[in-house]
Every structure is written in structure tokens, then in C-alpha cells.
């Protein structure tokens, strides 16, 4: 539970606007914030209970409103969280699509990106925008470097898939330890990033972080979809993904195409990292573990290799997590991975994935 981004928040007592997540009115046993200091949610639990329990019209109405409000709030929170999963899932999906590798080091790129944002802002004292751009560039470069150093020879020599997978795990452990060495293993607080106003829609309170997450992820997905569908390099990516040998016969430098894919995927993870830091301003070297795993689940859920699929998977996972957290937070991860298991049983290719025909 410790590595769950939403959990530590309860303990740390951070910005009130984020504490929607740790809404504790439903969980008296945890009782830390026993008195509810969030007026916009104040009516929900009582109202909800009343709505279920009595036939009093006033309370029933109140209860439905409160429930709807809670439901919407948690859905938006879920979409905000899901946006981050989605951005990371895109990287998993793209890399898998082109070299059939589950790049388990991809989750750690979020960690690298987060530390880069922090480093550029607090140590180098640069403004936020440069920190974000710097972090994206650094991660894109790191992604290419990892591909070159760790995977390239395995891929060109047709190594067994298991070797690639284990190498990816090795890279993940390496990155985590490297950053522990560089920055220490303790949890670090991020400075405030995007200080935007929240939106109040009637009783519905939407944090700026959620809005930003959703908007940025949608823009990124559209951008990526356009890149893949319309540009020359996008066509090269699709060709390489389908048949690297035939792509070479078209004069495509598949090494460059693969490197480019890693760069874009890692860059997107860095965007996710910036959004993550903005939403949950605490980072540590192992933060990429669970985050990366969930993003991977999102990619599989949506259909690995599919860009809209990765996004859809991310949103579904985020919303499922947010809803569960509201009712019984101990079950959150069980639900998330339970969704994966059900999906694999029912439709192994994922929601938007295509059935892969084995080539003869």
C-alpha cells in the first residue's frame, strides 16, 4: 500500500484540494480526519445513507444528489488518475507494437522524469516550463539510450523473448538503484507545479490537476494518433511493427524507427511524470513500480499495440480505482489486477486489440 500514490496522501496531509481522494467520511475506522473539513462533500455520506435507509423525500433527494456528486467527483478523479496511466500505457503499447517487448523499465521512466522535473526546478533553479521540457527531452534520450545499450543487440540477434523481458526487469532495478544512489531513497516533496484555479460546478469541485491531466492526455493521444496515421515516420513505424524485414526492403532504417518509438514513448512517460508530480507532489525512486505495472495493465486492457486502446484502458483503470477507493480502499489494487485477469480470460486481445493472426 505504501507505494500507492493515493494512500500516502492520507498520512501526509497535503493540499486540501487533493484530499478528495482520501475522503474519509465513509471510513470511520481510519478516523484520522474524523471531522470533515470538506464542506462540498459534507452531505454525501449522511445523505447517501439516508437515501438508502429512509423514505423521507427530503433526505432521499438529498441522498441522490450527494451520491451523484460523489459519483461524479470520483469519476473525474478517476479520469485524472487514468490520464496518467494512459500516457504511460501509450509507451508500453508503442514499444510492444514495434519490437514485441514488454519494456518493464518503462514505469521507471516516470520516476526518472519526476526526478528530472524536481532536479531542474529546485537544484538548477529553472522555471517550471523548462523543467518539464528538459524532463521530456531527458527521458526521450534515456529511452533511446536504454534501447541502444540494453535491448538493441538482443533484438538484432533474435534473442528469445524471455531474455528481453529479464533484461527489461534488470534495467528497471538498475534505474531504481541509480536514483536511490543519486537522490537518496527517501520520499521527496515536489514544489508546486501548475498553480491553476479549480473549477466549481454547482456542488461539483474539479481540481485543476484533474482537468490538466485529462486535457493533456487527450491532446497527446490525438497528437500521437496523427503522427502514426499521417506522417512518414508514422508509416515507417507501422510497417516496422508489422514486418521489420519487409520494412527494410522498403528502404526504412528500422533501427532509427525503433529508436524513435522508444523516444516518443519515454517522452510521453515524462509528460505523465510531470502531471503525476502536479497531482501527487511526492516522489521516490521506487514510485515507478506500481504505477508502471498499472499502466501496463491499462495497455493490456485496452489492447496492447493500440493507441486509443491504451487511453481507454488507462481511463477505465483510473475510474475503477477511484470508485473502489471511495468504498473500500484496501481492495483497490485487487480490483485493478482483477480487471486484468477477467479481461485476459474473456478477450485476451484487449478491448480495442485486434486478434493477431499467426503468419504462416
Amino acid at each position: 500500500m505504501k507505494s500507492n500514490p493515493l494512500e500516502f496522501r492520507r498520512k501526509e496531509g497535503l493540499k486540501p484540494s487533493f484530499r478528495i481522494f482520501s475522503y474519509s467520511g465513509k471510513r470511520p475506522k481510519k478516523g484520522k480526519s474524523g471531522k470533515n473539513n470538506f464542506p462540498f462533500l459534507a452531505r454525501s455520506p449522511q445523505g447517501f445513507a439516508a437515501g438508502l435507509g429512509t423514505s423521507n423525500h427530503f433526505f432521499r433527494l438529498e441522498g441522490v444528489c450527494g451520491f451523484m456528486n460523489l459519483f461524479l467527483t470520483q469519476t473525474i478523479n478517476g479520469l485524472g488518475l487514468g490520464s496518467i496511466y494512459a500516457l504511460v500505457a501509450l509507451g508500453y503499447s508503442m514499444v510492444y507494437g514495434i519490437v514485441k517487448l514488454i519494456n518493464f523499465a518503462h514505469g521507471d521512466i516516470i520516476m526518472v522524469g519526476s526526478y528530472m522535473v524536481m532536479f531542474i526546478m529546485t537544484v538548477m533553479g529553472m522555471p517550471l516550463i523548462l523543467a518539464v521540457i528538459g524532463s521530456i527531452l531527458f527521458c526521450a534520450l534515456a529511452g533511446v539510450l536504454i534501447q541502444r545499450v540494453a535491448y538493441h543487440r538482443l533484438l538484432t540477434h533474435d534473442a528469445p523473448r524471455i531474455s528481453l523481458l529479464i533484461t527489461a526487469l534488470g534495467v528497471s532495478i538498475f534505474l531504481q538503484n541509480l536514483f536511490q544512489l543519486l537522490f537518496g531513497s527517501e520520499v521527496r516533496s515536489m514544489p508546486t507545479l501548475f498553480d491553476l484555479p479549480a473549477i466549481q460546478l454547482g456542488e461539483l469541485h474539479i481540481t485543476s490537476a484533474n482537468i490538466l491531466n485529462i486535457v493533456v492526455s487527450v491532446v497527446m493521444m490525438i497528437g500521437l494518433q496523427t503522427l502514426v496515421a499521417r506522417t512518414r515516420i508514422g508509416k515507417a513505424m507501422r510497417a516496422t511493427s508489422e514486418d521489420a524485414g519487409a520494412a527494410k526492403l522498403m528502404g526504412i532504417n528500422t533501427n532509427h524507427t525503433v529508436a524513435f518509438t522508444f523516444a516518443v514513448g519515454s517522452g510521453l512517460a515524462a509528460v505523465g511524470a510531470a502531471l503525476y508530480c502536479n497531482t501527487y507532489p511526492q516522489i521516490k525512486p521506487t514510485m515507478g513500480n506500481l504505477l508502471g505495472l498499472k499502466a501496463f495493465v491499462a495497455a493490456v486492457l485496452g489492447g496492447i499495440g493500440s493507441i486509443p486502446g491504451a487511453m481507454l484502458g488507462g481511463y477505465i483503470l483510473g475510474v475503477a480505482e477511484s470508485w473502489t477507493k471511495n468504498f473500500y480502499s484496501n481492495l483497490t489494487d485487487a480490483i485493478v489486477f482483477g480487471i486484468l485477469i477477467v479481461m485476459l480470460l474473456v478477450k485476451p486481445s484487449g478491448l480495442l486489440g485486434k486478434n493477431v493472426k499467426e503468419k504462416v
Binding site: K235, R238, G245, L249, G251, T254, V360
Partner: protein
């Protein structure tokens, strides 16, 4: 002067000696065919030429360039295109996108005239240009693979088993296309199991047997040869 010269080529798959020191050449404007049974080494030879396989030793020279040290994606830029065995079109891309990828190395040129030319030669592709390539029939896929290779405006075309899996009628159609491509000035090296058809359109032929060249000569002469007739032409 030969356009393509292969000399003492040796290719290994692990310990298996697939190509055992073969030498042959293709002159400009010719159709040359490599015939032989499954596993004779025809595809390995073509893959070595187009850079998908690295030979152990030997030299491959195309138009004055040493192909052995040239990366696969650069070989097309020298004017040598390949229509690979099994067609290997990009099934999840549209017919048009496949053709555009064929012209990948000509990114900055206007391709409209080329598309028209391809569609004039292969009218079936025009009807289906927005369809996913994977939904085409076998014959159409083969035409697409040829069209795709022609989009790079090659000097020479390598074709690997273009008749494989096609009905006799379509085989005839594909061979007519190859012939017309050659008449348009493109040199052709053709791998075929269908020796009868290949010898009909080729100028010269080499017979491959277990990695070595067993016979070579004018296609018309080989078609009359008793041994070739018995082994490859069904008596």
C-alpha cells in the same frame, strides 16, 4: 557488363551450409531465373543480395557497389528492389499506404504520376486502393507486392516465388506483368519453383540444387534439356 555479379557466395544458418560458393551474374535488361526445389537455396541467395542475410564469404556487386557491406535499407536506394517470398505486404495498412511505403525513399518527389502508372498496369489495385491490404486475394496481394517494389523506381527487381499459391490463371497474369515490367527497362532476377513458366519468360537460367549451381544456360536450351525436363518440368 553485368549489373549484378555474385561470386563465391557462402551463406550459413548456424552450422548449416545453405549456399555453397555459388557464382552467377545478371546483365542489364535481362530476365534471369533461379530454379530449383524447396530448400535449394533460392531464397537465401536473394536475401543475401538484398541484405536481409549476411553471407559468410563471397562478393555481391550491384552497379559497381559492394552489397555485402551495405545495410539492407540502403540497398533499395541503389536501385535494387525485392518482392519477397510470401509477398509480405503490410496487411494492416491500406493498398495505397503500401504503395506509399514502396516509395518511402522518394519522399520528396511527387508520386501522382507513379501511382497512375502502377494503377494502369495493375488496374485491380486501383479499385481496392482504400482497402486494407490483408483483405486482398492472393493474386491481388502479389500484384500489390510487385507494385510496391516498382514504386521505388528500381533498376533491378528481385522476385521470390511470385507464383506461389496462385491459380494457373493468375500465375499467367503475374508472369505477363513481370514480362511487361522487364520490357519497361527493369532487369529481373526471378526465383521460381514453377520452372516451366519461368523458363518461358527468362533469357537465362541457373539451376540450384542443395546450395550449388547444378546447371546454367539459355532458358530455351535448359527447357529442352533432358535432365531439367525430368527433374523440374515433369518429364
Amino acid at each position: 557488363m553485368a549489373l549484378l555479379t555474385v561470386k563465391d557466395l557462402n551463406v550459413f544458418y548456424g552450422n548449416i551450409h545453405a549456399i555453397k560458393g555459388i557464382s552467377f551474374e545478371v546483365n542489364e535488361g535481362e530476365i534471369v531465373t533461379l530454379i530449383g526445389a524447396n530448400g535449394a537455396g533460392k531464397t537465401s541467395t536473394l536475401h543475401a543480395i538484398s541484405g536481409l542475410l549476411r553471407p559468410k564469404s563471397g562478393s555481391i556487386t550491384f552497379d559497381g557497389n559492394n552489397l555485402v557491406t551495405t545495410e539492407a535499407h540502403k540497398i533499395l536506394r541503389l536501385g535494387l528492389a525485392q518482392v519477397p517470398e510470401g509477398r509480405r505486404i503490410f496487411a494492416s495498412l491500406t493498398v495505397m499506404e503500401n504503395l506509399e511505403l514502396g516509395a518511402y525513399i522518394r519522399a520528396k518527389e511527387n508520386l501522382d504520376a507513379d501511382f497512375e502508372q502502377i494503377f494502369a498496369r495493375l488496374p485491380r489495385l486501383k479499385e481496392r486502393r482504400k482497402q486494407l491490404a490483408g483483405t486482398l486475394s492472393g493474386g491481388e496481394q502479389q500484384m500489390l507486392a510487385i507494385g510496391r517494389a516498382l514504386m521505388s523506381k528500381p533498376k533491378m527487381l528481385l522476385l521470390d516465388e511470385p507464383s506461389m499459391g496462385l491459380s494457373p490463371l493468375l500465375v499467367g497474369e503475374i508472369f505477363d506483368i513481370i514480362k511487361s515490367v522487364n520490357q519497361g527497362g527493369v532487369t529481373v532476377l526471378l526465383n521460381e519453383q514453377n520452372a516451366k513458366k519461368a523458363l518461358e519468360i527468362a533469357n537465362r537460367a541457373y539451376v540450384l540444387e542443395t546450395g550449388s549451381i547444378a546447371m546454367s544456360g539459355e532458358a530455351s536450351a535448359l527447357a529442352q534439356d533432358e535432365k531439367v525436363r525430368q527433374a523440374y518440368l515433369g518429364g
